[in-house]
Symmetry: C2
Subunit: 252 residues, 2 copies
């Protein structure tokens, strides 16, 4: 049974030399993080990007799965030699790496018996006891074992599968956010902003991010909280701060 | 004196709630990684993205600075309350967090004595013994202490500063790469590709990445090595593999 608890967090473990080497721009972090917060009220508290090295994957799966409520891995579940996520997670949890019956039959059906070669069969191998995360794009399923959910690295395919993770996740409280864009520089408001953050440190997180837009510089103040009421209160304080310093607010 | 050594690696530590929450797309990883490899022959071996939490920053700076030749931090060196990178690194290395004389005078000159307020002064505070990484965009310098280099989070500013890191870095061997785009699916070549990887495992790293282009699916085979000669040899093997399977090669 799912319980409504206050704070649920997750780590994302990006497995892939192509991201580390700077060849490929990661697009999965932003997608997973937004989906987890908006759909499940789960906060991403850490991200790691690591190479396709078995020992490194094992170490990180062990550490992150102990430290966070969930771990989402991306990448390394395809048919080629550099796809070693499933076997590494099996070793991390000291369980067999073996054919998952249902995954095997899904893939056999998808490719047809004749074309179901060794590479394709490899995609049905998972840690013993894993449950499937179905894949509506290209059949090969992801899986969950304990609190680790394994998804593919290709963003289009990952995006199509993410809703199938939902049934495995406990829901937390959604973090709401609001952005106030001010035409000023950070150092003009940093003192007052620090005082406001101090006053509401238990409930509201205030971030300050410089921006350049239409030739003008400004600061985006991002406030985040599970409480919409507290968010409104801090928003009012920020508007008062802008007013008192005669700072123009950019309406988007 | 700089020594030419074989493998030099680095970690990137992205400090910022805005990246973790999915509000902002990180652009610094890809930039730093490509610059480090092409300019200094340094390989990024791990990336971590963590929140603006002092304890977390301290822990990660200690772990990563022991594990890798260099650590590049991004974010958290501005004037606001959420900019706590410099003070956290000071604590990680158990040194004072104090005004850096040269940084102070650079900033005082940039803003003018009258406008040099507390927020701006904060940007001159660094770990004791830090050396400056000059900032041609907005004056506020980054710094290096031990093997940790701290840069700002705003990509435009970071990009303008990166060449000023060079003098602090030992050079390694550049990794060269080549991509062969094949109009096939991974599972059609996975077995042979695995054999080729096995044969050259000491010198060449082979990655396989599915792509979708102009309505057709394909596989990008990326080969990486410090040896251009070995890269050519593996490239030839891959062309033979494509030939033997009558796979069309996409020329870009």
């Amino acid at each position: 049974m799912k319980k409504k608890i206050k704070k649920v967090n997750a780590a994302i473990l990006i497995i892939g030399n192509e991201i580390l080497s700077g060849r490929t721009q990661d697009k999965n972090i932003i997608f997973i993080s937004n989906w987890l917060n908006s759909t499940c009220g789960i906060t991403v508290s850490e991200v790691r990007i690591i190479p396709d090295v078995e020992k490194t994957i094992i170490e990180n799966v062990i550490i992150l799965s102990k430290k966070f409520n969930y771990v989402f891995t991306t990448g390394g579940i395809g048919p080629t030699h550099d796809d070693i996520t499933a076997q590494s997670i099996s070793k991390a949890f000291k369980v067999k790496y073996e054919y998952h019956k249902e995954a095997y039959s899904i893939l056999e059906k998808y490719y047809g018996k004749k074309k179901f070669n060794d590479g394709r069969k490899k995609m049905a191998k998972m840690p013993e006891g894993a449950k499937l995360i179905y894949n509506p794009s290209s059949a090969a399923p992801g899986f969950i074992i304990k609190n680790v959910l394994s998804l593919p690295g290709v963003p289009l395919i990952l995006n199509s599968m993410i809703n199938n993770c939902k049934k495995y996740l406990i829901k937390g409280l959604k973090v709401h956010s609001k952005t106030i864009n001010l035409y000023t520089v950070e150092s003009n408001i940093s003192k007052k902003l620090g005082l406001i953050q101090k006053k509401y440190k238990r409930n509201v997180e205030i971030g300050s991010y410089p921006f350049f837009r239409l030739g003008k510089i400004g600061v985006a103040i991002v406030i985040r909280s599970v409480s919409i009421i507290k968010l409104r209160v801090v928003n009012q304080e920020l508007l008062r701060l802008a007013n008192s310093k005669k700072i123009e607010i950019l309406k988007l």
